[in-house]
Symmetry: C2
Subunit: 175 residues, 2 copies
């Protein structure tokens, strides 16, 4: 196992700034691109990250600490962010994400003592028993999954434009 | 075709700052992680991006503009950055990348008039005839490939730690 809470926090606290520098001020062509029918735009990925901050990570952590293995987490709707959206700018979305994330990292440090709590367990509705450490590791890797998705969505836009170089560009070989 | 030079520049000018926010100050555990024998660390990916700025993109652009289809580009050694490295900090590497990239974008604007030059052609040693537009599109997608690689390398470190959540984390399913 490689998880250390302070190192996971290093990643979690960097994601909002990383995305702000990647996405702020980009042309609509980049922000409105997707990978085809039923796939997400860059802006929708940021909305999904916001929804996770609001309804997933800290609420589940609190549930695990309160309920243990007694009752499973309420399910998290991974598509909730696609409903009832207001047309916020990408900058407003990134700002909302940054504020929620910062508050959640304060809360994480209040809730968890890594010297004693990492092996505490809860009940996932699909997986069964899960550990607090697994939930926190997943939070960090979830950020990386969606940073990867964002650059993949952007790269897709130039699939035809790169011509024969497709062969050398791994990001265009996987979906 | 989606390529517009000003939009490609938006991406190219954001990558150094994006990586600076993602990587500066990270623990060695993140910076020294790789995906196994023969794979690159995060720091080696940044070295590869530096080598591209130094020896690939602008030199090939200049070659294409000078030689047309007369003589193929000299081959680019995609592993050159693994030789003779000095042990620079990640911050020094990111700074070197940012400086080279900024200078290269100035040079790009001097060399290319997007109203007339995008369909100009050169000769790639493996692919044959390639267009200037394809070279510039590839430069931008190459950035995205390596941002994606960096977060994939980092995510790999927590493969065991996330436990059953592997099933929901796309970044752990592909190599």
């Amino acid at each position: 196992m490689n998880f250390k809470m302070n190192e996971a926090i290093e990643v979690l606290e960097r994601t909002p700034q990383t995305l702000a520098h990647l996405l702020s001020g980009l042309s609509d062509g980049w922000l409105h691109a997707d990978e085809g029918e039923g796939t997400w735009t860059v802006a929708e990925v940021v909305d999904h990250l916001i929804e996770g901050e609001r309804a997933n990570w800290i609420p589940r952590l609190e549930w695990l600490l309160r309920e243990g293995e007694g009752r499973p987490f309420p399910p998290f709707d991974r598509f909730a962010h696609l409903e009832g959206q207001t047309a916020r700018s990408i900058e407003a979305r990134l700002q909302a994400f940054a504020e929620l994330r910062a508050a959640n990292l304060v809360r994480l440090r209040e809730l968890v003592d890594p010297a004693v709590d990492l092996e505490r367990t809860g009940l996932h509705p699909a997986f069964g028993v899960v550990k607090l450490r697994e939930l926190l590791s997943t939070w960090a890797v979830h950020d990386m999954t969606h940073i990867s998705q964002i650059v993949r969505v952007m790269a897709e836009r130039y699939r035809a434009d790169v011509g024969p170089w497709t062969a050398y560009l791994g990001i265009l070989r996987r979906k």
